[in-house]
């Protein structure tokens, strides 16, 4: 067997990773079809991609990238510095529709030095630049094929796009002319199965070889017990939090927010909603990161304490609020448990199930909510706490300053200390309820090897995947 | 050998005893008429012969057809006999044919099912049969569907089906009840001819004694599931033995005496009335076409007069009634009651002065209301209707006037017989003392004996209240006795108007003459019955 069929929950709306936020696009295309100057590895590290090496000026304002030679796009055209300039300029242009335009905000200019060299000049130092350029939204595209990118993506990766049956599947085939280590597989098919039951049935019936980000953790023990399958449990960048509207009474009172934190039994949520998969967190930070500090003790489950705090805040009889829940089951199930737990301390949270579009409109942009549960999947996104207009509306100038200096700092030790301080600050302010770090859960046939267990970004990197003989 | 011999036939359906020791016989070439009131078991006798009883039925006795005992035949054997040796014609020609099959196929089916002829010859045979019953090939090709034929024509198709294999016995259950008098005459003539021609035995069931007297060689009178009297037509007519038979014949020919009408002063005036029904458009942009159901009708009904209106089914009688009642608009002409114009806008004054009695004794009442509520419905037209004891007194008085008891006010209509229901309908029409009552086929659905009672009641009421009415019927013998003057209607037009006796004695219009000729007449039995 030299191809795989991989299940995933959502179908990409289109196939341009540089103009939509949908994680499904990256899942199919990241590193398989499109590559950036740098790239993520399965362990979360950032390594060279299309750029084989680079130099950074001492002031941190200028990056010179040396590109790999002999790289061609799938349509046969060569990939050179012009393409890099085109891609980055397109992403940061005025009328850009890049969903992560902020990644490029600090770039002042992109200059072609020679066909194999590009110089990126920043307006201010940014310690995250190489990391930023590894994102799916920063992949290199060709001006020749840009018009059809949404339906016929042309990249430089080890796989070529070969077909899309809308509503059903996308298939890739091996790129024989790949510039780097060629893929082992001859082809791959991604099948879209949104319904968790259907996903279970499809894997069980062996219609699929693997299912990435399996939506029903309750079924994993069965797969684990079945010699036909292996279960891959890893980490993700998704901090699942009980987002709190910090400007809305009574959540503008830190005592109420702290009460909220003590009212929540994280382990019950992990057991009930995720069937035990997930790591409790006490702040907005991924536990697998070297700078992580365990702050869960500070907001341990203590309903009595919570009641006392509420009484202190003048809300001894509790209060009513809303709990908006987007569609994923971590939110819907977790929300039911959270609501039940809050009810124990007298907080009556009315569950409002919403779709993503509604969530974006009412909660995210309208900021018309009390509580909501959502998993923030972007890597290293603690910076959102420095944006007072962000939907949970946390406004702490001290923290904002901390972030500004973090961005300007390149020394690893200093950065580490600052990140720890940042975690503690938001934990002390009880900005949100911190629930758990989402686990990456995948199922595969027992003899399929080379799949990522962790999910540093939303990708199903097939370049190293193969069948054991 | 006797063709059909029924002896001591008893029939039970469930626990219900329906036929008791019925015996009768039919010879080849003979027409035997079975008569009697509704529910006397006439149809079930026929169904027993055909072997088409419901599963719950239980029979005893003997039925032989040319010596074969029909009651001991298996279902498969009966299937072989039905249509082959016994043919049957039913009452309702409109529904007796399968609407989705051509008449040719349906006639051929009788032949094919018994494998009497190969298909092509069967087709030719079907054609012959239709020709024979008076449906010639040029106007009635085999591919016609039943809905394209009139009632009489459909009945001919049913007859063609029944005689396709020249059965030895033909049973006809009320074959003409649903038809016009003129059509009825033709169908009866056809049956008579077929019997003579094929030497069949014909068992005809009818409650119309005039038809019986006219057609039958022998008569069987039934009541409550028993044969009360039987004999050759001549014998029986002139020498009735059983009181029930006598009563039946007397009631059929029932005459009433009406009081003299007062001097003519106009009550209802109709001038040039026209009523059009829109026809479905032929094409999207074509002008809508109309069917003129009432054409330029004019007449006057005088106060205290009893006016008759006769004519064939569909000639526009009911349409005219609805126009007079102001239920439907006129497209031309005018109608006035005592000088007040009648329009469809409700004028309580006119409503109060005019009432109506319909044909269907059951359908004329809301089954969910009690009698008191039913008959006081016209109070709605009164400005101050009586209440309390005045109301109950009036109800009691009216019920008594129509021969019912004041206690009946608390019952529901389903607790009454057909004749009693019609009395309630008359009570409802009388209660506001209207000046004019319209009777639209008010006695047509009733048994002869009940009909006689209602006619008597009408005569009494004329005496007591000086009624004026318009009496609509297709039954000439009834109109003849219950009206002073009579209008004859044909295709929406009044073709003749004259005092009743004059019309019957010397009809002038050809249509009137045809109508009177077609109506079967009971022979004058005055001496015979005595």
């Amino acid at each position: 067997k030299d191809s795989v069929t991989i299940g995933m929950q959502l179908e990409p709306p289109h196939l341009d990773p540089t103009s939509a936020a949908a994680g499904a696009i990256d899942q199919v295309l990241y590193s398989n079809v499109f590559e950036g100057l740098t790239r993520f590895m399965g362990d979360g590290s950032v390594v060279p991609g299309l750029a084989k090496s680079w130099e950074i000026s001492a002031d941190g304002l200028s990056y010179t990238f040396h590109l790999n030679q002999g790289v061609t796009f799938h349509d046969g055209t060569t990939m050179d510095a012009e393409d890099v300039k085109f891609s980055l300029d397109r992403a940061r242009a005025e009328d850009s529709t890049n969903a992560q335009k902020a990644l490029f905000a600090d770039i002042a200019s992109v200059d072609v030095v020679d066909p194999a060299t590009v110089k990126v000049t920043l307006s201010k130092a940014n310690g995250n630049m190489l990391f930023n350029l590894a994102w799916g939204d920063a992949v290199i595209v060709a001006p020749e094929s840009i018009d059809d990118i949404k339906t016929a993506p042309v990249g430089t990766g080890a796989f070529k796009f070969s077909g899309w049956v809308q509503g059903d599947s996308i298939s890739l085939e091996k790129n024989a002319d790949y510039w780097g280590t060629p893929a082992v597989l001859d082809g791959a098919t991604f099948k879209f199965i949104s319904d968790p039951t259907a996903a279970f049935a499809a894997v069980m019936a062996e219609d699929l070889d693997a299912f990435s980000a399996f939506p029903a953790p309750e079924n994993l023990p069965q797969f684990d017990a079945d010699p036909r399958f292996q279960v891959l449990v890893g980490s993700t960048e998704g901090e699942t939090i009980l987002s709190t509207n910090n400007l809305k009474a009574p959540f503008d009172d830190i005592r109420v927010r702290q009460a909220l934190a003590h009212a929540i039994d994280r382990q019950a949520i992990i057991d009930g909603a995720m069937f035990g998969y997930g790591t409790p967190i006490g702040s907005h930070f991924a536990p697998h990161h070297p700078a992580y500090v365990d702050l869960t003790g500070q907001s341990a489950y203590d309903p009595e304490r919570a009641k006392a705090l509420l009484a202190e805040a003048g809300l001894a009889d509790g209060f009513k609020t809303t709990l908006h829940l987007p569609p994923p089951s971590y939110a819907r199930r977790g929300g039911e448990i959270v609501a039940a737990q809050l009810a124990q301390v007298g907080i009556e949270a009315e569950i409002i199930n919403v779709e993503w579009a509604q969530w974006l409109e009412t909660v995210f942009r309208g900021k018309d909510f009390g509580l909501t549960i959502v998993s923030h999947t972007e890597p290293m996104d603690i910076g959102i706490y420095a944006r007072p207009d962000y939907y949970f509306q946390y406004d702490n100038p001290e923290f904002q300053e901390l972030m500004t200096s973090l961005n300007a700092t390149t020394d690893p030790d200093q950065r580490m200390a600052m990140l720890k301080q940042a975690q503690e600050t938001i934990a002390n302010d009880y900005v949100n309820g911190y629930l758990f770090q989402m686990a990456s859960l995948s199922v595969a046939k027992a003899d399929l090897q080379g799949l990522w267990a962790n999910a540093p970004t939303q990708a199903i990197d097939l370049t190293a995947v193969s069948w054991a003989d | 050998m006797t063709l059909l011999d029924i002896s001591n036939l008893s029939l039970r359906i469930g626990t219900h005893k329906i036929l008791k020791e019925v015996s009768l016989s039919v010879q080849a070439g003979e027409i035997v008429a079975i008569t009697g009131e509704s529910g006397s078991g006439k149809s079930l006798t026929a169904f027993t012969v055909m072997g088409l009883l419901p599963d719950t039925a239980n029979t005893s006795g003997q039925i032989t057809l040319s010596g074969t005992n029909l009651l001991s035949q298996s279902e498969a054997q009966m299937c072989g006999l039905r249509g082959h040796s016994i043919g049957m014609v039913f009452q309702e020609p409109m529904t007796a044919l399968n609407p989705v099959k051509t008449i040719g196929d349906q006639v051929m089916e009788t032949i094919l099912i018994h494998k009497a002829l190969p298909p092509d010859q069967a087709r030719a045979r079907a054609r012959e049969l239709l020709d024979r019953v008076g449906l010639p090939a040029d106007r009635f090709p085999l591919g016609r569907f039943p809905h394209e034929l009139s009632g009489g024509q459909r009945q001919r198709v049913v007859i063609a089906m029944a005689i396709a294999l020249r059965p030895k016995l033909l049973i006809a259950d009320e074959p003409t009840t649903a038809l016009d008098v003129t059509t009825q005459a033709q169908i009866l003539e056809l049956l008579r001819d077929l019997v003579r021609e094929f030497d069949m035995g014909l068992m005809i069931i009818t409650h119309d004694l005039a038809v019986v007297a006219d057609l039958a060689d022998r008569i069987v009178v039934m009541r409550h599931g028993e044969v009360v009297e039987t004999g050759t037509t001549q014998e029986l007519l002139h020498n009735m033995q059983h009181p029930y038979t006598k009563m039946l014949f007397a009631a059929s020919n029932h005459q009433v005496t009406l009081p003299e009408p007062p001097a003519p002063s106009p009550l209802l005036e109709i001038k040039g009335a026209v009523r059009d029904y829109p026809l479905p458009r032929k094409s999207l942009f074509a002008k809508p076409e109309y069917f003129r159901a009432v054409k330029d009708v004019s007449f006057t009904l005088y106060r205290g007069e009893r006016l008759g209106l006769v004519g064939e089914s569909g000639c526009g009688k009911s349409t005219l009634t609805r126009a007079i009642l102001g239920l439907e608009p006129l497209q031309g002409g005018e109608i006035s009651l005592d000088g007040m114009a009648i329009t469809t806008t409700q004028n309580p004054e006119i409503r109060r002065r005019m009432q109506v009695v319909f044909q269907d004794p059951f359908g004329s009442f809301n089954p969910r209301h009690r009698v008191d509520r039913l008959i006081t419905e016209p109070f709605y037209t009164l400005t101050d209707p009586p209440t309390g004891s005045a109301r109950s007194d009036l109800i009691a008085e009216t019920l008594r006037a129509v021969g019912l008891q004041p206690e009946d006010a608390q019952k529901y209509v389903h607790q009454f017989s057909g004749g009693q229901r019609q009395r309630i309908a008359i009570a409802r029409a009388l209660i506001t003392r209207p000046e004019l009552i319209l009777f639209d086929e008010a006695v047509s659905a009733l048994d002869v004996s009940v009909r006689a009672q209602i006619l008597d009641l009408l005569a009494e009421l004329c005496e007591a209240y000086g009624l004026s009415y318009l009496f609509i019927s297709h039954d000439l013998s009834v109109v003849r006795t219950i009206t002073d003057r009579c209008l004859v209607m044909q295709k929406g037009e009044i073709v003749e108007a004259a005092p009743t006796e004059e019309i019957f004695a010397e009809p002038k219009h050809p249509y009137t003459r045809a109508l009177i000729a077609a109506a079967p007449q009971l022979p004058d039995l005055a001496q015979g019955a005595a």
Partner: protein, 315 residues
């Protein structure tokens, strides 16, 4: 017949016009914006605005309505907001799954219901009738998604006779495609078959009481012959109505079943499009479905005329 067809055609056009208005404005008031849905939570406001312009969402509602209807009339359904491909093509692809599925289910339900209904009517009140009617009562009461779940459990996971879902695609051959539609078709068909069998039975029983059935028996036909030759065609009229209704239901109502079996059908397309606020797709699909239902009703009416000559003469 032509006049009749014309008249029906006219009312069809009016219905569609009203439907397009209703659909457009109902869908447009739904909160949520396709552009911000696509760009997610990190997008900058001006990026969203840029995308809105690109999608033409900055035009007024009336402009967009007219453009949409104008497009529909010329067969151009517009471009999907999220997929960025012509809507017409997307719908056509999905129809190639939904339509065969609906027809397959309809065929199955008819194949089950007709014999069952006829059998029950012929054995009215006997044990066979009771058994069939009992089964249909149960069939009507079982929610089809639940039934589908059980089918998957038994036939896909335990017995592995069928795949758990998905659509093989017509390019894999007719057999494979039909095989992959079998379980969903059964899940859809059984409850419908139960209803149809009941209608068939009661309609036949009504016909058995008609005068012409007595006439047929008087000709010497056995009960069975009378039922087949005279009963069946007359009983078809109410049955056809139900078949028409069921077809419409199967086409549009299969969403849940498509979900359970992850079939790329119309229902799932519209479900997805609603959640991503791909309004133009929703509008067009609903329009297509309304059109299909009205057309099916029209065809059913024409079919009446085939079985019933009385309606044919309405020239």
């Amino acid at each position: 017949m032509i006049r009749y067809a014309l008249k029906r055609g006219l009312s069809l056009v009016i219905s569609l016009a009203v439907a397009s208005l209703v659909i457009f404005f109902v869908i447009e008031i739904a909160p949520g914006d396709p552009a911000s849905f696509m760009l997610g939570i990190n997008a900058e406001p001006e990026t969203v605005a840029a995308l809105r312009t690109e999608l033409g969402l900055d035009q007024s509602k009336l402009q967009r309505y007219l453009a949409w209807v104008g497009g529909l009339l010329s067969g151009d359904f517009g471009m999907s907001y999220t997929y960025r491909t012509p809507v017409a093509g997307m719908i056509a692809d999905r129809l190639w799954v939904s339509l065969p599925l609906a027809l397959y289910a309809l065929a199955l339900s008819t194949l089950i219901a007709f014999p069952a209904g006829i059998y029950a009517a012929a054995r009215r009140g006997k044990a066979g009738d009771m058994a069939v009617m009992g089964a249909t009562q149960l069939g009507v009461a079982v929610p089809n998604f639940w039934f589908a779940m059980i089918l998957v459990l038994i036939f896909a996971i335990n017995l592995r006779w069928f795949g758990a879902g998905g659509f093989a695609g017509w390019d894999k051959g007719f057999g494979a495609a039909i095989h992959s539609l079998t379980l969903p078709a059964i899940a859809l068909a059984l409850p419908q078959a139960a209803i149809l069998a009941r209608v068939m039975r009661s309609s036949l029983l009504d016909i058995l009481g008609e005068d012409f059935m007595r006439t047929a028996r008087a000709k010497g036909l056995t009960r069975r012959q009378a039922l087949w030759r005279h009963g069946l065609r007359n009983a078809m009229i109410p049955v056809l109505t139900i078949i028409g209704l069921q077809f419409s239901f199967l086409l549009a109502g299969a969403i849940i079943i498509e979900q359970v079996f992850f079939l790329p059908g119309l229902g799932r397309l519209v479900f997805q499009a609603i959640s991503s606020r791909d309004l133009i797709v929703v509008e067009s699909v609903v329009m297509i479905l309304v059109f299909a239902v009205i057309t099916v009703n029209f065809l059913v009416d024409l079919a009446y005329a085939l079985v019933d000559p009385r309606l044919r003469s309405r020239t």
